[in-house]
């Protein structure tokens, strides 16, 4: 009888289409964010993250329409990240039906933005996304630009600072593990989760269902995010929940 750990499928959206090849055998249009979101909702996803990777800011409006469509059909929390630079970007996404926004590069460039956003919209909707790479034993640094650009900022100190500035949650991605299928960086996840009083979402590297459970048990994450393990229909969200439950983790069942 307590709070369940969360499973969060993540979708990369480019100009209104899901990319990174989501594959479902029986889905009509795997590029349609609404179709994919509905599928994950039916499988028991606890939240969804949409990452807008649209290069051109002219096409950002497309994401707003995607959010509107998804939010009128899927009634679980929806986080949207990517390209958020102004308070008005947040307002627009929340008005469209997003519940939280993920802020990454803009927070690094201007930490005060996080403080302003939390004060204006409430901490509950401000997720600070951190991309970290290991730079030594027990040391990780923040990288931007998809892991290419070092910042010299210590990841754990940064997470603490963002929490004190009003972030409601940390989305923590290991750039070393992202795309490897080797599992989360559990030492990083554990270190950040212990350092901050707010929930931490583990991200980057999931290849098996056991990796998800490891993220919670060893990494002490409050939620686990994964993309390809679900997109390629290797596993359903329900299978992931069953596997995590089998290892003693409290999960939400689908029935009312």
């Amino acid at each position: 009888m307590s709070l369940a750990k969360r499973i969060i499928p993540c979708l990369d959206v480019d100009n209104g289409r899901v990319v990174k090849g989501v594959q479902f055998v029986d889905i009509l249009d795997a590029g349609d964010p609404v179709e994919v979101a509905r599928r994950y909702d039916e499988q028991g996803a606890d939240e969804l993250v949409f990452l807008d990777i649209t290069a051109s800011s002219d096409d950002r409006e497309t994401m707003v329409h995607v959010v509107e469509e998804v939010a009128s059909q899927v009634f679980i929390p929806l986080t949207v990240g990517g390209g958020i630079r102004e308070l008005s970007d947040i307002r627009r996404l929340l008005n469209a039906g997003a519940d939280k926004v993920g802020i990454n590069t803009t927070a690094v460039n201007n930490p005060e933005f996080v403080r302003q956003a939390a004060a204006r919209f409430g901490s509950q909707c401000i997720v600070v996304a951190i991309d970290a790479k290991q730079v030594g034993e027990g040391r990780w640094e923040i990288f931007t630009h998809g892991g290419r650009k070092p910042t010299g900022i210590d990841a754990i100190e940064w997470a603490k600072k963002m929490a004190s500035f009003g972030a409601g949650e940390i989305l923590l991605t290991s750039m070393d593990r992202d795309g490897t299928r080797d599992g989360y960086d559990l030492a990083l996840t554990h270190a950040v989760s212990e350092a901050v009083p707010i929930p931490v979402i583990a991200s980057g590297g999931v290849g098996t269902l056991d990796h998800l459970a490891d993220g919670v048990i060893e990494g002490r994450a409050d939620a686990v995010l994964a993309a390809s393990i679900f997109h390629f229909a290797h596993h359903t969200v329900q299978e992931a929940k069953d596997a995590m439950s089998a290892r003693g983790i409290e999960m939400r069942a689908l029935d009312v």
Partner: protein, 215 residues
């Protein structure tokens, strides 16, 4: 045509609430409004909200909606969600003390202080965020078709402590048991977000649209 007014005071995820209501509304028209008159005209009223209670209360007052809320609560089915629940109490610890609407006797406290007082819970994260179980402590038409201990989606750092236990309709455990639902006459108020709680949440919203306001 029956109408439900969703009070829009410029904060939070109003659209999530209206979309979820529209999904289950059937013959009821969903009106998102900040006009006091539209709230007065509606057959039932929803006060949603996320963010800071201080802003919520000051915006309600600025828009002339505080008196309308108090009036609505006397004569029609009323659903408060998250801040829309906390706003009904006397006051909150938020920002060193915030006056609320004082419709239900009690106060709103921050989780952190309470968790520090409970042994072994200081590692629990605040905000309390995610799907937790809601334990119904009495029968109520709003719970129709919703299983005991169903999970709903929560995201909040403050919890309500009503003065009178009789208004507690459900509790939730997070380090300790807190009041997650209040009911009093035609008021039903929830700390969680039914608009984000999938089947159970939609069932609750559907129940609200057919509830006559009696318990």
């Amino acid at each position: 045509m029956a109408t439900v007014a969703v009070i829009d005071y410029g904060m939070g995820n109003i659209r999530s609430v209206s979309k979820a209501l529209e999904h289950v509304s059937g013959a009821t028209r969903v009106v998102v409004t900040h006009e006091p008159e539209a709230v007065v005209q509606a057959d039932r009223v929803v006060l949603p909200g996320v963010g800071a209670l201080q802003d919520c209360v000051s915006e309600l007052k600025r828009l002339g909606l505080d008196e309308v809320v108090k009036e609505s609560i006397r004569n029609k089915p009323f659903l408060g969600i998250c801040l829309g629940m906390q706003a009904l109490l006397d006051s909150s610890e938020e920002n060193g003390g915030t006056e609320a609407l004082g419709i239900i006797s009690g106060e709103t406290h921050h989780f952190s202080d309470q968790l520090k007082a409970v042994p072994g819970t200081d590692a629990l994260k605040v905000p309390h965020m995610g799907w937790n179980q809601v334990h119904q402590v009495k029968r109520h038409p709003m719970w129709q078709g919703i299983r005991q201990d169903s999970r709903f989606y929560f995201v909040h750092s403050y919890f309500v402590a009503p003065a009178d236990d009789a208004v507690v309709s459900a509790t939730t455990s997070y380090g300790f048991d807190f009041t997650s639902v209040i009911d009093q006459e035609n008021i039903f108020a929830v700390q969680f977000h039914p608009e984000k709680s999938q089947h159970a949440g939609l069932a609750l919203l559907a129940n609200f649209l057919s509830w006559d306001g009696s318990s």
